[in-house]
Amino acid sequence: MTGKELSEMMKDSVSGCHRALVREYGRYVYAIVYNKLRGCGTKEDIEECVSDVFADIFMKCEFDISSENDIKSLISTIASRTAIDRFRSLSARANHMTETDEDDMGELVSDFSVDEHVDRSELRRVLLDKIDELGEPDSTIIIQKFYYNRNSKEIAKSVSMTDVAVRARCSRAISKLRAKLVEVGIAI
C-alpha cells in the first residue's frame, strides 16, 4: 500500500482507512513490537504499544502522507521507535515480571552459553536458518512456542492440528533443532 493510495482511501472514509490499515499491517506491527518488548512487557503492554503505533500512523495519515512509496517501511520505523520508547519505560519499572508459557519450556530448552563478543545478529541468522530447515509445520510451531510464547492450543489453530499433535511434533522438532545447532557449534 502506498501513501497515495492511503490518501485516496482517507477521502472516502477515515474510519474505513484506519480499519484497512490495522487489518493489513496489524500482524506486522505486532511482530515488531513483540520483538522489542518480549523480554519486559506483558501481553497488555504489547497491545497497548501496538495501539500507540497505529494512533501515530493515523496521525501521519491525517496530516502528512502523500508519498508514492510503500508505507511499510514508514510503519516499520514508527513501530520500532515506539516500541523502543516503551521498552525504556517498562525496563525502568522495578519488579517487572514476564509471563511464561504454560507448557514446560524449561524442559525443552535449556540455557545456552553465548560469548558476549559473538555477533548476535549472525547467531540470530543461523538459528533462524536451522529452524527453517525443520520445515513446516515444525518451524512455525517452534517459533510460536519458544519465541512468541504461545501455548499448544493457540498454535494448533494456526497450523490446523490438534494441540496434542502440536506438542508431540514440538518435542521431536526440538530434538532435531538441537542436533542441527550442535552441528554448527551451538550447544543448548
Binding site: 487489518r23 489453530k157 496434542v164 530434538s175 551451538i186
Partner: protein, 599 residues
Amino acid sequence: MKKENLFDILEKAEDESMERLVSKCPEISDEELDKILDMSERKFNMKKRDMNKNVQRENGITVSGVERVKRPAWIKPFTMAASFVLVAGMVVGTVALMNKGKSGSSDTDKIAADVFNDKDALKALCSDAPSHYDKLEASCTISYTRDDLSITENEKVEYNSKEKYLFMDEREDHKEPYNPEADGETYFIHYLYKNKSTTISPDWNWYEVDTLNNDWDYDNYSLIDVNGQPFFDPKPIFDPDTTYLSSSQSLLNKDEWSITGTETICGRECVAVSQESDAYKLNDYFDSETGVLLKSVYEDVNNNEQTVFEVTDIKYNEEAHVTAPLEFRKMIEEAGYEPFYPDGSVDPKVACNLDFLGIPNQPFTTAAGKKEVVTTTTTAAEPEDITTEPVTTETPSDDYDIDDVVGQWEYQISDGTHTAGENPVYNGVITIYPTAIYEYTDVNGNVTEGTVRLGYEEIAGSQLPKVDFYESTAWSFGGYYNGDEINIGNGGMSRLVRSNGTTSTSTYIAGDDAFDAVSNYCHKKYDWSAAKENPDIMYVTKGNVTDTEYEILFRSYTGAFVYFYVNNQSGNCRIMEENPITNEMEETGTINIFDYMNE
C-alpha cells in the same frame, strides 16, 4: 559469558531476521484487531484533540468547562453478568474437583456394557485402554496434507502396558515445495522406560538419554500418543486437571460427540465417533474391545482431509513382540551409536548411561570392538559430585552375579543404641529384579528406584562381594553381600535382610543355569559339525531378561535364530522360530530345562 534462553537471541532483530519472524507471527483474529483498532482510534482522537487545543491556544482561543462522559446504561448489568459467570465457573470447578474420583468404579463397570450405543461405556473403555491388554505391537501411518506441504510418517510402536516400556520407530518423509531445505526423510527411535526417555538418531549416529520426572504417564504422554493421536495410553490426557486437553480427545466431553456406526480396521471391529466444530470435523474409530484408537481423520471446514492417522497392523498380548529394555540396550551397543548430550557441562557417557535398561551378563558381541561396553564395574566415570562413593572394582567371577541378590530384602536400621542386627528397626523393603533394577519402598510407602551394580572391594587383602545401589547415575548406598544379608557400612547401623519366606533360592532358576540347560539342549538337538571349521557360525547366547523369563538365542549355521523363553520358576521353556514364509514368530515346541541341567 552469560546464560540466557536460546530464543532470547531473536530479540532486537534487525531487518532480514525481523521479516522472518513476522512470517511466523501467530495469526491475530479479527476480534483482536478490532480491539487494537478501537484503542488506536481513541488514542488518535485524543492526540488530535490535544493538537487542536494547542492550535487554538496558539491562536488565542480558550475553551472552558468539563466534558461530561455518560456511563452507558448497559455497563452495570454487563459487569454483574460477567461476575456471575466468573463465580459460576468457580463453583462448577469446585464441585467438579470435589466429585473427582468418585465415579471411577461405576465407569469401570460400564466397560462391559454396549460400547456401540452407550457413550458412557465407550468413554470408560477408551479412557483406560491399556488395562485391556498387556502388550501391543502396531504399525501405523500419519499423513499431514496442506496446500504447500505433505508429510507422511510411518511408525512402528511396541508397548508393554504392565511393565511400562515403549518402543517407537519413526520415519518421516517431508515434502515442502517452497522450502527444499526441509525436504527429506528423518528417522528417530524412541524408548521410554522407567523415568528415562531415550532417543536414537540413526541418521546422526547418536543416542540421547533424558531423565524425566517420576511420573511415567505424565512425562511421556506427548509421546505415548502417536503424534497427537491418543493411540494407546490416553489416561493422562483424560485427566481433567491437565492443561493439554486436545480437541482430538474427542470423548472427554460426551456432549460434543456422537457414535455414528461401526467400521472394521485391521480386522478389528471399531466404534465410529464423530465430532464437529466451526473449525474442523473429526472422525475417530476405537477398537471396541480395547478402546485403542485405530483411525482418526481430521478435516478442515471445507471437508479436506488434513490429518489422517491409521493403524495398518496391530497385535495384542501373546502375538505382540515388545522390545525389552535389555534388547534395546543391545540394539544401541551393537550399532555403535555414540552418546549425545549437547550441553557440554556433563560427560555424555555419564548422562547417557544405559544401566537403567539392565546390565548384560556378557558383552554384546558383534560391535564390541567398536564401542566400550558398560559392565558391572563401578569405576567407570561417575558424576563429579559423588564424593562419598567407595571405590568398587570389577572382578569377573562366575560364582557371584545378579541372580544371587534378586528378590525382596527388608531394610533394617539401628534403634540408636543397638546394631541393626541386635534390635532391627524396619525401614522399608527393597526388591531387586533380574534386570538389575531395584525398587525401594520406604516406611511411608514412597517408592524410589534405580540400578544395582555388583563388584568387589578389597579389604585387608580379601575381596569382599559388594552391592551398590544407584539412583539414576548417582551412587546412593552400598553394602557387603553375605548370603542372606547385605551389610551397609561397617558399624552395623543398617543392613538388608532377605524377607521371610520370600527368598528365591529354593525355586528360582539362575540365568546361568537356564543358559547352560538350553545350551545342552541345543548341542543335543542340532548338528554342530559346521561349527567345527568356523566356531562363530553357530552359538547360543543370552537375550533379554524379564522378571519371569530368560530369553536365550540359538543361531544355526543357516543364520536362522531359535528363541528359547525359560520361566525362571517352573523351568518350562517355549521354543519360538520365525516362519520363513510369513516372517512371523511361531511356537515350535516346549521343553523343561530341568531335563537338561547337569548334563
